[in-house]
């Protein structure tokens, strides 16, 4: 590939990734500058993406970490272009909106403007990660960007750090999406171990249906579904509404949640090899549609309603993936575009309304069409788009959905109609609840920056309804990547009685019915929500975290009570391990008693003396006696060394023993008699368990010693060479020459330890004063 083409492909990614640091730097310089700089970068990234896509896209594939076959492989294919354009385009509008919204938001909490810098930094990091995620073709690279979005969302949800609810929500979002992300990694590694590559296009050609693919695909799918807030891992999303509204708007339309279906699309060439995986998606999608739709109808808080709506809407996308085929693939891509535009507009509407009126609940709002006509119109267009009314882009999304469902069977078609009707009902409820009816609250003219992004999005929704061509082309290109084959879908208005149109009509009727029969079913729906709150997965999450903490506390207390400061805690397991080692190895004929001759008698006597002196040291009570007894044990040992032909050791042992004894007595002198006496008077009955433990320890020391010494010694040894070489080193005493010459380094180390001990003693006793 030519350098300019490479640059063309990389430019969107580079611009998107540079946006965050640029905005942060600008913000550090002047807090006011963060927003414009960030917005400018978003616009640039959007333009670069559009341009590169228009020029035909392309790929960059270079080695990243060859040892593990990791490649930096990014491509601007149809799927990447779609999500990158959404991330940067919607990002741009949300940032424009934030530039006005955030100062108001910070103003409520008397927070400094500089906190906004952090906001823009994380928003743009989010955007950059999304662009990277869209373009990544290597599964590990994808995982990297995947978690980057999790980090960004974590900080954004916890933007209001003083709010414990926001922190808890951020932690929940991070745990649910971060922990499941590990599954993506595991899936990728399973595929790698089987096929030797992390590259999705290469894997698409290599994979064969089978349990391995099922396992890997399922793991990846779970990660994607958790991110897309699909049942039963959906509960983090409504909680994440603790974030400032622009964050929610972005998170729901073009970033976090979209990332999940993006991943599904990216690995779809692998998934569609397995029927089981597709059926799983089908079930999860249907469940999410139902749960999200029903719960959305019961919510009172604006953002909560929209959150459940998102769960349900992405349920459609997952449902479409599950249906599969040409229609499913293109439909999923198109659905994401349509939903992103509409949902973003609705969130921004909610934010503007709440900012203006101070109310965030439907029950407290109403009649705002008069003071806010422009907002009402734009948001009306968006709601219509969500509800899939004709003349909006939404109409086509449902057309594709119905087409795909029909191809599968009447049951699925019915489910699709039902789901679409639910959507219509809550979209109406949202818009009508705010703008129609009695006016409850005063609202002045909102700032233009809060309205215009909504108008732009609403306009796009309408534009898509009138001129669907560009959106359809983009979706088609993405669909081809997803489907891994050419796909050609022509969404258009057909004024005839084809099944899709009939289904649309049925949807409208059913939706209207739902709207007007609200009093009949609302109690039941609330009941469902209540039960879900009591036994649902969120409850499970809460109680498992709580239980984990409680369990952890309990074992910690147990450890502190029973283990801390107990040296037995290491002697015992060490003994057990050694014992285990000896038990499992054959020991027949390994042990020898050795020979004893008459000349060994002094040696034996010395051994007996050592034994007696040592045993005595365990029985003495007074410290002075203890000093005498243990030093005499040392002296007898020294004598033993002398008998064993080791005069050097004997000499040093005597000297050292003397020194240690002196220091011991000095320490005794430092500690008052009363304190020492208390120790000497401790009742002996406390020691029974200690006797057992030390007997066990001794038994294993015995086994190790005897087992080793019984072995015939090595035939040739270094020692012989050393003896032979000693005259070469101009010496007579071989031990000394070893210490000073052959193994002088050891001696150097030994005296260094001695020097260290001196430093330590002086530090401890004299507070570091050397003199």
């Amino acid at each position: 590939m030519t350098p300019p083409a490479t640059l063309m492909v990389l430019l969107p990614l580079v611009l998107a990734l540079l946006a965050a640091p640029a905005a942060m730097l600008a913000g550090v310089y002047r807090p006011r500058l963060a927003a414009p700089v960030g917005t400018a970068f978003a616009a640039l990234a959007f333009s670069a993406t559009a341009l590169a896509w228009w020029k035909g896209g392309g790929a960059v594939n270079v080695a990243w970490a060859p040892t593990w076959d990791l490649r930096f492989h990014v491509a601007l294919d149809g799927l990447a272009a779609l999500y990158a354009l959404l991330a940067t385009g919607v990002g741009f509008l949300v940032l424009v909106y934030s530039s006005r919204y955030l100062p108001l938001h910070l103003g409520h909490g008397d927070r400094p403007e500089s906190e906004g810098t952090r906001f823009y930094g994380h928003m743009l990091l989010f955007m950059g990660a999304m662009v990277g995620l869209a373009m990544a073709q290597d599964l590990v690279l994808l995982f990297l960007f995947w978690d980057l979005t999790a980090i960004a969302s974590y900080y954004l949800i916890a933007f209001d750090r003083h709010d414990a609810e926001a922190r808890a929500a951020a932690l929940m979002a991070l745990l649910v999406t971060g922990v499941t992300a590990v599954l993506l990694l595991i899936g990728a590694l399973i595929l790698y171990s089987a096929y030797g590559t992390f590259s999705v296009p290469e894997l698409a050609e290599l994979v064969e249906p089978g349990p391995l693919l099922n396992a890997a695909g399922l793991l990846i799918a779970v990660a994607a579904l958790a991110k897309s807030a699909q049942v039963p891992l959906h509960f983090w999303l409504p909680r994440a509404m603790a974030a400032p509204t622009p964050v929610s708007a972005y998170l729901h339309s073009a970033a976090m949640v979209a990332a999940g279906v993006l991943l599904l699309g990216r690995v779809y060439p692998l998934l569609q090899e397995s029927r089981i995986l597709l059926d799983t998606l089908l079930v999860v999608g249907l469940l999410s549609m139902a749960v999200g739709g029903v719960l959305a109808l019961t919510q009172d808080v604006l953002k909560q309603l929209l959150a459940y709506s998102t769960i349900s809407q992405y349920g459609y996308v997952v449902f479409l993936y599950g249906l599969g085929g040409e229609y499913g693939a293109v439909g999923a891509a198109f659905y994401v575009i349509a939903h992103a535009l509409a949902k973003c507009a609705l969130f921004l509407t909610a934010g503007a309304v709440t900012e203006e009126t101070g109310e965030d609940r439907l029950s407290e709002l109403g009649g705002l069409r008069k003071p806010l006509p422009l907002l009402a119109a734009a948001s009306g267009a968006a709601s219509a788009g969500l509800a899939a009314l004709p003349l909006t882009i939404g109409f086509f999304k449902d057309e594709l959905l119905f087409g795909a469902a029909l191809a599968r069977g009447p049951l699925f078609a019915g489910a699709a109609v039902l789901g679409a009707a639910l959507t219509l009902a809550y979209a109406w409820r949202f818009w009508a609840g705010i703008f129609l009816g009695e006016r409850r609250d005063g609202a002045s003219n909102p700032p233009a920056a809060l309205v215009w992004p909504v108008v732009a999005l609403g306009g796009l929704v309408l534009l898509g309804g009138l001129w669907v061509e560009p959106f359809a082309r983009l979706a088609e290109a993405a669909g081809e990547v997803i489907y891994d084959a050419p796909a050609s879908i022509e969404p258009a208005y057909h004024l005839d009685l084809r099944p899709e149109n009939l289904m649309a009509l049925a949807t409208f009727v059913l939706g209207a019915l739902l709207i007007f029969s609200r009093p009949v079913w609302v109690g039941a729906a609330r009941g469902v929500a209540w039960v879900g709150g009591k036994v649902g997965p969120e409850r499970l999450y809460e109680s498992s975290i709580e239980g984990l903490n409680r369990f952890s506390d309990r074992i910690h207390r147990a450890e502190v009570r029973d283990l801390r400061s107990r040296v037995a805690a290491i002697l015992l397991p060490a003994g057990v391990l050694v014992g285990l080692g000896i038990l499992v190895t054959p020991t027949d004929g390994v042990y020898r008693a050795g020979e004893v001759g008459w000349h060994d008698v002094p040696l034996l006597l010395a051994l007996v003396a050592v034994t007696l002196a040592t045993l005595a040291s365990t029985l003495t009570r007074r410290h002075v006696t203890l000093a005498l007894v243990f030093s005499s044990a040392g002296y007898v040992l020294a004598a033993l060394y002398a008998f064993l032909g080791a005069p050097d050791v004997a000499l040093v042992a005597v000297l050292i023993e003397t020194l240690v004894t002196l220091l011991f007595i000095a320490t005794l002198k430092l500690i008052p008699y009363k304190v020492l006496h208390r120790q000497a008077e401790l009742p002996l009955r406390l020691t029974r368990r200690k006797v057992y433990i030390s007997v066990v320890a001794g038994a294993f020391a015995f086994a190790v010693a005897w087992g080793t010494l019984s072995q015939p010694a090595a035939e040739s040894s270094t020692a012989e060479e050393l003896i032979a070489l000693a005259p070469e080193a101009h010496a007579k005493d071989v031990v000394t020459v070893i210490l000073a010459d052959f193994r002088g380094l050891d001696t150097l180390g030994e005296i260094t330890v001695v020097a260290l001990v001196l430093l330590g003693v002086v530090t401890l006793l004299r507070g570091g004063r050397l003199r």
């Binding site: 000297l655 020194l659 002196l662 002198k669 007579k732 020459v737 000073a740 260094t752 020097a755 002086v762």
Partner: protein
């Protein structure tokens, strides 16, 4: 423990102790230089020499003992010893030999000064001697000073320090 020892020691023992200091050093020196031929080396020599000094502590008391040059500078002596040994180890590097190469090399002739062999291991041992001597004297000295400071703090005659909890 019994009362401070120096109250009960007689003039005689004090004199003997003072007189013994020199012989212990001589003995230590002998152990040091004969190390290559007989048991003993810098380490034993250092301990022996330090025991001589410790005798001064026991008999004469801390203040008297601390008048000795060697006692006051014990940590410095130890440091110098370590440096000496380390230098013996490192110098060969500058001559292009591996670390800790001793001279004269095997096969080369040794210069004798009387019965003393002039070889670098002796220097190495000398470093060890200083270090060990410094350690023993320094550590005991630190203990001794802490003991007497504690006695001063608690007042004469009282042996027991109240618990400071």
């Amino acid at each position: 423990m019994s009362a401070p020892i120096n109250n009960t020691t007689s003039i005689l023992t004090q004199t003997v102790a003072k007189l013994l200091l020199l012989p212990t050093f001589v003995a230590a020196f002998a152990i040091l230089v004969k190390g290559y031929a007989q048991p003993g080396d810098g380490f034993s020599a250092g301990v022996v020499a330090s025991l001589g000094v410790l005798l001064q502590y026991l008999v004469l008391g801390r203040r008297e003992a601390e008048r000795l040059v060697t006692v006051r500078n014990a940590p410095t002596i130890a440091g110098a010893g370590l440096l000496l040994s380390l230098s013996v180890a490192v110098v060969p590097l500058f001559l292009g030999d591996p670390v800790l190469t001793h001279y004269p090399r095997p096969g080369e002739d040794v210069v004798y000064l009387g019965t003393l062999e002039l070889i670098t291991p002796v220097l190495f041992d000398l470093g060890i001697f200083f270090l060990v001597f410094g350690f023993a004297v320094g550590a005991i000295g630190a203990f001794a000073r802490t003991i007497s400071e504690q006695e001063e703090y608690a007042g004469p005659g009282t042996e027991q320090l109240e618990d400071d909890t």
